[in-house]
């Protein structure tokens, strides 16, 4: 599926609207050690971006404000659902920093989890094969914890999120190439 920048901005706008109602945002940053890994998304930036009316086939003429709002919400939900199809998040070597591509998707997941408190997720951290198995086990845990914190900061409940690390034991792709390693340094969200 093609996701344009416009749509991306649309989904961001959705997540921001959810965030606006979340008073606990930022309160969960108690773990100083990982401050660099996690930060709440900038709530100011992008708030003026709207897009979605054109190209959706919906003409504004003849629609009431509430109908227009509903159409927009439908489109937003569809885009957020599309984003949430991405459930794997990648990392650089020996880091647990959530990269910019992952952020918007994780925000969409956090919004969904906030609105669906009975949904539980297992966050499984992985490392590539390089280096030692035990260090990689700890690194996979650090990655899973970083994703967990990011989701909590953005509205999910900690109780919904279980973490486990498989270290380098469960590669997504076998082989000793840069490409395989890049695809193996990841956190997978498994919806229970």
């Amino acid at each position: 599926m093609m996701l344009s920048m416009q749509h991306k901005a649309f989904a961001l706008a959705l997540s921001l609207s959810v965030l606006a109602g979340c008073s606990s945002t930022g309160d969960t940053m108690e773990d100083e050690g990982y401050g660099s890994d996690v930060s709440a998304v900038d709530q100011e930036g992008g708030s003026t971006v709207y897009g979605g009316d054109d190209g959706s086939g919906v003409s504004s003429t003849g629609l009431t404000d509430s109908e227009r709002l509903e159409a927009r919400e439908q489109a937003q939900k569809a885009e957020a659902a599309a984003m949430r199809k991405i459930t794997t998040f990648y990392f650089d070597f020996d880091t647990a920093e959530i990269n910019s591509e992952s952020r918007d998707v994780l925000i969409a997941h956090a919004a969904f989890l906030a609105s669906s408190p009975r949904t539980n997720v297992r966050l499984v951290g992985h490392a590539d094969e390089r280096g030692t198995k035990e260090y990689n086990l700890a690194l996979g845990e650090r990655r899973a914890n970083a994703v967990q914190r990011f989701l909590v900061v953005n509205g999910a409940s900690r109780d919904q999120l279980e973490t486990v690390s498989y270290g380098e034991e469960s590669p997504a792709v076998s082989g000793s190439t840069e490409s395989a390693w890049a695809q193996n340094r990841r956190v997978e969200m498994i919806f229970q």
């Binding site: 093609m2 020996d94 198995k133 035990e134 086990l137 914890n145 590669p171 997504a172 792709v173 000793s176």
Partner: protein
Amino acid sequence: MDFETMSNRKAARQESGASRFVSLRGIWRWLSASLLAISFALPVQAELLIRITEGVDAAIPLAVVPFSKSGDFPAGDDVGDIVRDDLTMSGEFKPLAASRMLSLPSRSEDVYYRDWKMLGQRYLLVGELTLEAGKVNARYELFDVNTEKRLLGETSSAPLKGMRGLAHHISDKVYEAITGIPGAFSTRLAFVTLETGGGKRIYKLQVSDVDGQRASVRLESNEPILSPAWSPDGKSLAYVSFETGRPAVYIHELSNGKRTMIASFSGLNSAPDWSPDGRSLLLTLSKDGNAEIYKMDIASRSLKRLTNHWSIDTEGNWDAKGRGFLFTSDRSGGPQVYLKTSETAEPKRLTFGSRYNARPRFGPEGKYFYYVHQRDGSFHIARMNIETGNETILTKTNLDESPSVSPNGRLLIYATKQNDKSVLTVISSDGGANYTLPAAIGDVREPAWSPMLN
């Protein structure tokens, strides 16, 4: 990366690794139903092969004459062959091929030193075997060819099914008589094999002789098994198993297969290492937030936290000489080796000059420690003199892991990759490849060399 490439990449990944992805989910579903396929002490089969990789120029020329036999020996294992292979694998000897021998003596009265001098041999081992009532008796003698003196003259015996053990015992005696250092041929290896295929992953924790023979499976699981560590008495292994869907540390008594789950706190339970007195374990736990090293008293299960830092602290290893413990920490920004000389002392960083140094293991003499070292993008095994800080890179392979030193300090086993498969390689502890032990099927990894046994 934009969203398009991200979803494409994911699609590509699922295409190429579809079966594994599915199997992982399947395993979780299956675990939730509490159906664990764990079995013990499966039938013996040779899982490892031996490939001698490199001779050593300075190796000592030695002749092992095929042992004479009286009695109805079954075909198969031959004591003389096993002794010759042991000494070859040590990397310190260059045995003479039997086809080049001018005579085949089995007793001292038949030895003509002149023959062996002509062939440039330094030592000569001869022997004879008798089989009586299911018991093998070996009588063997070792000679110094130059001084024309007998260095060793012994008899040993074992039941027929223990013939390989008898051969390793003879190898130990010969090795010690020549080098003055106890042989480690009668010790054991623990390792983990991994077979993948048909959407399944089968991990097997195995124990074998040091030549990979007489392997027996001690634990089999569809979930990872990691970090086997021998108790100082050689009777138990501690290891990490994911059989419950999460990492937990177990102690496994080898004689009876009795297992005890000793650590299953929330988060990580990993990296077990026995204290020299065998009473406690170093463990890496993350129950208090992130990976830290704890000491657990095995009898009481009481825990004492030994590190306290927001970074990863793991891979603890006791110094048998009582100088504290080594561990890996990324508190400086990347993994490095630290020494903590007491429970309260500030950790001292030992490795510098490379951004990745991890999983330290002391050699038995306590002079060196061995670790995984990254240089120019490759991962090697290095060793450091703990007094001088001198660092030597020991391996030429890449993606090297899990160094473990033989209890006599002479050999080092580690895991590396060959043709995308994990294999075990044994080298001299000061460098020089000796032999590899690839698995008959799949990968073999996580070698742990036992202490001296009995």
